[in-house]
């Protein structure tokens, strides 16, 4: 004779029923592609030649000697470091000014500085490629005003400068976003804390370094990590502004993966690059988790 289900069994069935839709979606769109990426990274899988053979860790060995991969990785690192300095640094300065410096029209300034994030990255890329274009852009004239001249092929046409141009455009778009997050953190610092600091002889810049910065430490860490992760997965801005050029000067990991998969048809190698990419993201995630828990 069948036993009536116990409360515990009924609870388990209810929980599984409720979790099932999310689990199915997670499995189908995240877990399976992830496993497939790991699996295909072990194959020489070329779409155009119809080749698909198991090669073990050969793709990873090839990756170690790939000069363009090195350029892309260094560009991503430059992107990460300079973006933290520009986006989080400038964001901090602007947030501090709006939080305690500026007294009037705060909302107007905040809206103007935040606005670039509302524009799609493709549009931002097109806009700045026109601005930085040596033939039709105004940058030459602007630089002329302060006695400087732009590189002959424009900022984005010079291999030595192009990546910095892309980083600058990225900072232009995202600094306002960082400022809003940091400003929200600063506005959570109670006014009484600043008043107590004033009583203790700490105000202005001293209060910024002794009170504001340490109090919003976790917000700053989160902003840094968001910026670093954003810098490692940057693709659209590079694609629209330089398409990785001139040469491979502005190649980044995401654009190199894209190029290998969809232009060169080397699916196996692109997957191996993706695995390395994932490992880097995982390390940064771990760092963030550790730092915030401290």
């Amino acid at each position: 004779m069948a036993q009536p289900p116990t409360h515990h069994r009924r609870d388990t069935i209810s929980a599984l029923t409720l979790l099932a839709p999310a689990m199915i979606l997670f499995g189908a769109f995240i877990l399976l592609p992830l496993m497939q990426t790991f699996a295909w990274s072990l194959y020489r899988y070329e779409v155009f030649g119809g080749v698909k053979e198991f090669v073990g860790l050969d793709n990873f060995a090839k990756l170690a000697g790939d000069e363009v991969f090195g350029i892309a990785l260094i560009n991503n690192l430059k992107f990460a470091v300079l973006s933290v300095v520009l986006q989080v640094g400038m964001g901090l300065v602007l947030a501090a000014l709006l939080d305690r410096g500026v007294r009037r029209f705060k909302v107007v300034y905040r809206t103007i500085i935040f606005a670039p994030i509302l524009v799609s990255t493709a549009a931002v890329g097109l806009l700045w490629s026109l601005i930085l274009n040596p033939s039709i852009g105004p940058v030459d004239d602007w630089l002329g005003l302060i006695g400087l001249s732009a590189p002959r092929n424009g900022l984005l046409g010079e291999p030595a400068f192009a990546i910095y141009g892309v980083i600058f455009v990225g900072a232009w778009q995202y600094t306002g976003f960082m400022m809003v997050i940091l400003l929200a953190g600063m506005q959570n610092v109670p006014e009484e804390t600043y008043e107590a600091a004033r009583m203790d002889g700490c105000k202005g810049l001293r209060a910024f370094f002794h009170i504001t910065l340490p109090t919003i430490r976790n917000v700053i860490i989160t902003c840094c990590l968001l910026t670093v992760i954003g810098a490692f997965k940057v693709f659209d801005l590079v694609y629209v502004l330089t398409n990785g050029g001139p040469g491979n000067a502005t190649e980044v990991l995401a654009s190199y993966i894209f190029r290998n998969a969809f232009e060169f048809g080397q699916i196996g190698y692109a997957n191996a690059l993706s695995v390395v990419f994932l490992a880097i993201a995982f390390v940064f995630g771990l760092i963030q988790f550790r730092m915030i828990r401290r």
């Binding site: 109670p190 009484e192 107590a196 004033r198 203790d200 002889g201 340490p214």
Partner: protein
């Protein structure tokens, strides 16, 4: 011995003046409590002394030196805030020593002073903890410790106990008083809780609408309030007020008609302007100033509710020809809702206020008992 002198202090926000020329003298080791309803300006007054508000007029001196234009840290004052205002990223020791660090005091000296104060406040076991790891009472002690470390001439407390539960509040009241006696300086304490004011103060400053209504010792204010506001503000339950009419002065006694009852309280010999016959007055009777009398001898009423507190009974009575009043009777009175009751004010417990709410000089027997 410090001395704080405030003369004609004014504070305005735009065109709105919130403090209207306040004068106050505090000397020696007085514990002064600013008390008043929300929005009366007591916190603004305190913050003006602290230097956290820029004053619009008047002057303040500590030991003769003008502090009106000085930065808060240069005034010789320290403040304990309502929400503690501890620095969340610093340890207890760092919080307590922060002002000294800002003043570039050598590290060893900071450590010595912090240890000394931590010992007084029994905070030694918590010196390496962060504020988030402490209870409310411990945080409050750290906030007090942070103030003491600076060795100020004037301690300012802005409703420091309002976030604590009733038991801890009573305990901390005593702790603060003991500390005040130990530290020897002026303490100024802001509260809206008149029990705190009565139990802690050497001197109470009652404020209303940006003005000081009365300054004096707790018992002076309780026994001789200068107006109806002060009389109603101090005491729990608050003083009862009944409409009365003067029937004129005869033989140094003021004739009064209250409901169906007549009274003739004695007038103080120093009384100058006295109400004429027919003048409307307000009779004030504290809850413990009522006596239960025989039927027909006083004011008739019905019991609304009796709170049996064991040591005393608080009875709320709806008067037949008047408002609801509160009466406190010592001991345990078995009264029930709707019981008929007759009551009259004890002759030496009357307070009288004229039409402008100013107290009239009624003679009363002092309540104070002295020991020995």
């Amino acid at each position: 011995m410090s001395e704080l002198s405030i003369n004609g202090l004014r504070k305005s926000y735009g065109a709105t003046e919130v403090l209207h020329g306040l004068d106050l003298e505090v000397s020696g080791n007085e514990f002064v409590v600013f008390v008043g309803p929300s929005g009366c300006g007591k916190s603004t007054f305190l913050r003006s002394i602290a230097g956290l508000e820029t004053i619009s007029g008047g002057s303040m001196t500590i030991d003769g030196a003008d502090i009106s234009g000085l930065e808060p840290d240069r005034r010789g004052v320290a403040m304990v805030f309502q929400n503690y205002a501890l620095y969340p990223h610093m340890t207890v020791a760092q919080n307590m020593g922060f002002a000294l660090r800002m003043a570039h005091v050598p590290k060893a000296e900071i450590a010595r002073k912090v240890r000394e104060v931590a010992e007084i406040l029994q905070l030694e076991p918590y010196l390496d903890r962060r504020p988030m790891d402490l209870s409310g009472g411990q945080r409050q002690r750290v906030a007090i410790g942070r103030a003491i470390v600076r060795e100020p001439k004037v301690f300012l407390f802005d409703e420091p106990l309002s976030n604590l539960d009733a038991d801890l509040r009573a305990h901390m009241r005593l702790e603060i008083i003991k500390l005040h006696r130990h530290q020897k300086g002026i303490s100024i304490y802001v509260t809206h809780d008149q029990v705190e004011a009565m139990t802690m103060a050497d001197k109470i400053v009652v404020m209303r609408d940006g003005n000081i209504e009365q300054v004096g010792s707790p018992l002076d204010l309780y026994n001789e309030p200068v107006n109806r506001f002060v009389a109603g503000f101090l005491g729990t339950p608050r003083m009862n007020f009944l409409d009365a009419t003067s029937t004129g002065v005869a033989n140094w006694r003021l004739g009064l008609k209250v409901g169906g009852m007549t009274l003739s309280p004695p007038i103080r010999p120093d009384a100058d302007a006295l109400p004429e016959a027919g003048a409307p007055l307000s009779l004030g009777v504290r809850p413990d100033g009522w006596r239960i009398v025989a039927e027909g001898d006083g004011l008739a009423g019905r019991v609304v509710h009796a709170e049996q507190l064991g040591r005393e009974t608080v009875v709320f009575i709806e008067l037949e020809h008047g408002p609801q009043v509160a009466m406190i009777q010592p001991g345990q009175y078995r009264l029930h809702s709707d019981d008929a009751i007759w009551l009259a004010p004890a002759p030496d417990e009357l307070h009288l206020f004229d039409a402008s709410d100013a107290a009239l000089p009624v003679a009363r027997i002092p309540r104070t008992n002295s020991h020995n």
